[in-house]
């Protein structure tokens, strides 16, 4: 059993000792001269046993009543014993997450404010008291184990710097909660600015710490109540140019910005810098009056880097002023075509694989023909896109291999097997690809065209409105019905009856891109191979899928990175040494430790190939929007004994306290003890005075 107010419990024990002392003192009798003790002695002889029992029972009742009263008022709760032995342990839960970087003065940051408060409390500790430091930036960790060496604690606090990571206060609180058998009185300082970014999901996670938290006296810094003047980059997307006249290495970066507080600026300067720090482009972001958000596009020309950082001038929150972006490098993509080509004579006998091969070759790409039967024996390292022209020849091991390829970030285009209406391969492919292809049924004859108005998909965005003109002449004589997959997929092409002709099949767990055609480029199904759409469709499918895959190469800071088998036993290297040390990748393609800082990181595989990864800090985790004290009440209620540092110790907010059910139980028992004591003690008083009638 623990107490919200151990001091009161201590006082109760001391008060409960009073009756014992009084009893012992009263046992020294006052001398009274009495005419004759004859009758007293007879009375005592008769009631000796009852008298002794009464006296002790009264003593027990009085002690119990006082003790229970005191303990009840001390707010007991059961989750282990906590005996106050005098020494204190102060846990300093200090928020070093992204919001702690906020500038709150000319040379003052939120973390500096927290450190000052923590040192003030440490200075107030007595000799023998212990202090420990827990860092609330993810991953939370104990910086200093509880120690009586307070000077060491001060030094550790003074060296703290904010980190560009999310804040995880519930996990940090858990580290500060003592074990139930720990007898030391524990206090915990919550040193944070209580910014919105530090509180993401915190209330829901609090449920995991409420039980043990009641053994701790929580001291919280008040929230920073000013609204910061801040601008930040909330997103960036890399796009290719539609205009083919420009260099294919050119890219445009579309940047989204948001702002809070005062709005004195009409525009912001933006810079795009290579990982080396060289600025390769600049631009302006105009701020419409009274707008909270804006967008800007910067063109990056002839860049072969494939990775850069976009930044704006630093302000109140420096950690949301930079964002890493990557795109497919100017290197030649590696494309596999899974199929067979051979004795093909005449247009009608030309296989889909051959049509695809020819369409892609014209763009300068050199696909590698891979036999379907040998897929499982090959390594996917360095492969960007796989086009499956003969799915009917892929065995189950091959489908498992292809499933992993897409999951690990690869792009794959599927199409029906041209030679047979029944697509038996659906059964083997559905499970590894996590798509129920069998719901599409078998191919059936259908005469029609592609729709004159096609959807504006991201995949073919570079074609723009031209795709309508290209698609309209394409005739179809046989097709699969992909309608059952349309609900969770993005349509790329449609037939004139509205049903999907090409889909980008979505799956959040999949980091790669999976595309599906309703008909193969085979003249037995469609005249697509003979139409102008064929070449740009295949080429854009390859390029856009690669671009999308590159955009998937985004990791979250302070999390374990899952990079897929192709990254096995590689290493993640920061673009700049100041960002941290290398992170090793295990044989399953997962990082052995969380990626410590946001920015550009380069994956160096075991075979020496390198790929850029953008490690991001979610802008919401750096949000320095303010929170009112009243909105923190759920925290105070969940944690129990709670006070603000700017309030006196006795000024615990009423709303922040939760009465223990034990309180009422103990108070009720105490009341019963008092009632019984009153009744029992009256047994010694004359209930009726015996009268003797005169003779």
């Amino acid at each position: 059993m623990n107490f919200l107010h151990p001091g009161l419990a201590m006082a109760a024990v001391m008060v409960a000792a009073l009756p014992v002392l009084l009893h012992l003192l009263l046992r020294r009798p006052r001398t009274t001269a009495w005419p004759s003790t004859l009758l007293l002695q007879r009375a005592i002889d008769r009631m000796r046993r009852r008298r002794n029992m009464d006296r002790w029972l009264l003593l027990v009742l009085r002690v119990a009543a006082l003790l229970l009263l005191g303990l009840g008022m001390a707010g007991p709760f059961v989750s282990g014993d906590n005996v106050d032995q005098g020494a204190r342990r102060l846990w300093i839960v200090i928020d070093d997450g992204a919001t702690s970087a906020e500038r709150i003065g000319a040379s003052d940051r939120s973390i500096d404010r927290s450190v000052r408060q923590a040192i003030t409390l440490v200075d107030g500790l007595a000799e023998g008291d212990q202090a420990g430091v827990v860092m609330a930036g993810r991953p939370v960790r104990v910086l200093v184990q509880p120690t009586a060496d307070l000077q060491r604690v001060r030094r550790a606090l003074q060296e703290l710097e904010p980190r560009a990571v999310p804040t995880d206060l519930p996990a940090a609180l858990t580290l500060a909660i003592p074990a139930s058998e720990d007898p030391v009185r524990t206090e915990a300082l919550l040193a944070t600015g209580w910014r919105r970014g530090a509180m993401r999901g915190g209330e829901a996670a609090l449920a995991t710490v409420t039980d043990g938290a009641r053994r701790v006296r929580w001291i919280a810094m008040p929230p920073i109540d000013r609204t910061a003047d801040n601008r930040g980059i909330v997103g960036a997307a890399v796009e290719r140019f539609v205009n083919q006249a420009l260099d294919p290495r050119d890219r445009s970066i579309r940047i989204s910005l948001a702002r809070t507080g005062a709005r004195p600026m009409a525009e912001d300067d933006l810079r795009v810098a290579l990982p080396s720090g060289e600025v390769i482009a600049q631009g302006q972001a105009p701020w419409p009056a009274d707008a909270d958000g804006t967008m800007s596009t910067i063109t990056v020309r002839q860049s072969e880097s494939g990775a850069a950082t976009v930044s704006l001038s630093s302000d109140a929150q420096p950690l949301d002023d930079t964002i890493p972006v990557i795109w497919e490098a100017n290197q030649q993509p590696r494309v596999w075509l899974v199929g067979r080509s051979g004795d093909e004579v005449g247009l009608e006998r030309t296989s889909a694989s051959t049509w695809i091969l020819r369409a892609i070759e014209s763009s300068g790409l050199v696909p590698q023909m891979v036999d379907p039967a040998s897929l499982a024996l090959r390594s996917a390292k360095g492969v960007d896109v796989i086009l499956v022209g003969r799915p009917d020849l892929v065995d189950s091991a091959g489908w498992a291999w292809l499933g992993r390829f897409v999951d690990d970030g690869g792009a794959m285009l599927l199409m029906p097997a041209a030679d047979q209406p029944e697509q038996a391969w659906f059964v083997d492919a559905s499970r590894p690809l996590r798509v129920d292809l069998t719901s599409c049924g078998s191919a059936r004859a259908w005469t029609g065209r592609l729709a004159a108005t096609q959807p504006r998909s991201a995949l073919l965005s570079i074609l723009g409105a031209e795709v309508d003109q290209l698609a309209e002449p394409v005739q179809v004589t046989r097709r699969l019905d992909l309608t059952s997959l349309a609900e969770t997929s993005e349509p790329v092409l449609r037939f004139e009856d509205g049903s999907p002709a090409m889909l980008m099949i979505g799956d959040r767990a999949r980091s790669g891109t999976l595309l599906m055609l309703a008909m193969p480029p085979d003249l037995g199904w469609t005249d697509l191979p003979l139409k102008p759409l064929m070449v740009p469709l295949m080429q854009e499918t390859v390029r856009a899928a690669m671009s999308m895959t590159a955009s998937h190469r985004r990791l979250h800071v302070s999390q374990i990175a899952s990079l897929g088998p192709s990254a096995a036993e590689g290493v993640l290297l920061p673009a700049m040494e100041s960002m941290g040390s290398a992170v090793e990748i295990d044989q399953d393609g997962r990082s052995r430790s969380p990626v410590p800082t946001p920015g550009l990181w380069k994956l160096r595989r075991k075979d020496g190939s390198e790929t850029w990864y953008a490690v991001e800090l979610d802008p919401a985790d750096a949000d320095i929007g303010s929170i009112d004290r009243a909105d923190l009440l759920p925290w105070a209620q969940a944690l129990g004994d709670w006070r603000w540092t700017d309030e006196p110790e006795t000024g615990v907010e009423t709303g922040s306290r939760m009465e223990s059910p034990w309180t009422w139980l103990l108070l009720t028992i105490a009341l019963l003890c008092l009632l019984v004591e009153t009744r029992w003690s009256r047994r010694g008083s004359p209930r009726r005075t015996p009268q003797v009638q005169s003779a």
Partner: protein, 322 residues
């Protein structure tokens, strides 16, 4: 040098007024030596006819009722009752327990050894007041009254007398006697019986807070001699209500063992024990045909004495009328 004793300071005017309507009557025939207001079994000159009895040879002819002989030709002798005075013996307990008192000294009271020491109105003061009142009443009725003050032995004796100075002598004895020691009524009773040859009236004043076997045997002797007895039990109000509190050591004023007890816890049992003791005393009194009255030392002595006298006078009148 002690201040001269003022005997009048021992008899309160209100007590006199309360007792004035009554006469002290013995419940039996008494053998007084002088004439008085009490019936005597002896025949004398100043006689009142009692009864006839048949003549037997040898009887004096002086009391022969000639009128009856003339009417019935039978010889009867007339018998007469003699009205005589009464010998009253007051035995006053002066043991240590009689020094107990929780009431402040009454103003105008002459004082006794017990009261002067404690500054309180003790049970012995109360006993002295009753003794003085009874003695005054007796002397007023021309009865003879004597006093024995006892504790573990007879401490003081004032021989019976009807003289005017008798009352003052008794007051003197009560005012100066040392109060203390154990209570042994048997010796006082024996000594009183030894000096009393005629039937008289005994007043025994005590708290009777001692084993009652000795009192019972003493009363049996007194009754065997044909004396009338009135027991006066004097108790302090603290003894009858026991309002003490806290853990106390009760030290016996007569030298008995001390008792440690929580007064509040003990209260009920003590009061039950006191009631039982009083019932035992009343049983003994009934068995010996004794009168008994209880006197609260905090209250005036007049009302209980007046009640006693009234009761006895009513009994006397009833006997006379029958």
């Amino acid at each position: 040098v002690t201040a001269p004793l003022r005997a009048e300071a021992y008899l309160a005017p209100e007590t006199l007024a309360q007792l004035a309507p009554f006469e002290l009557r013995a419940r039996m025939l008494v053998d007084g030596l002088g004439s008085g207001m009490h019936a005597s079994p002896r025949q004398g000159q100043a006689v009142e006819f009692a009864e006839h009895r048949p003549y037997t040879p040898g009887d004096s002819l002086r009391n022969l009722d000639w009128k009856v002989f003339g009417r019935s030709d039978k010889l009867y002798l007339k018998r007469y009752e003699q009205e005589t005075n009464l010998d009253v013996v007051i035995l006053a307990d002066a043991s240590s327990s009689m020094r107990f008192g929780t009431l402040g000294m009454k103003s105008g009271w002459g004082g006794t050894d017990a009261g002067r020491d404690s500054g309180a109105w003790t049970k012995f003061d109360c006993a002295a007041a009753i003794t003085v009142a009874i003695a005054h009443l007796c002397l007023e009725q021309r009865d003879r009254v004597g006093l024995e003050v006892y504790a573990d032995d007879v401490r003081s004796v004032v021989r019976r007398s009807g003289a005017k100075g008798q009352w003052r002598s008794m007051v003197q004895a009560l005012a100066t006697i040392r109060v203390g020691g154990a209570s042994r009524p048997a010796r006082a009773i024996d000594q009183a019986l030894a000096t009393l040859t005629t039937r008289g009236l005994f007043f025994i004043l005590s708290d009777f807070l001692h084993p009652l076997e000795e009192l019972q045997s003493g009363l049996a002797k007194v009754r065997f001699r044909g004396h009338d007895v009135v027991l006066v039990q004097i108790l302090d109000r603290q003894e009858t209500r026991f309002t003490l509190e806290g853990f106390r050591r009760f030290e016996d004023m007569e030298g008995g063992p001390a008792v440690d007890a929580d007064a509040e816890v003990l209260r009920h049992a003590y009061l039950e024990e006191l009631a039982r003791h009083r019932q035992e005393l009343q049983r003994i009194a009934r068995s010996q045909a004794c009168d008994i009255i209880e006197v609260d030392s905090h209250a005036s002595v007049g009302p209980p004495l007046a009640a006693l006298l009234s009761r006895r006078e009513a009994a006397w009148r009833a006997r006379r009328s029958s």
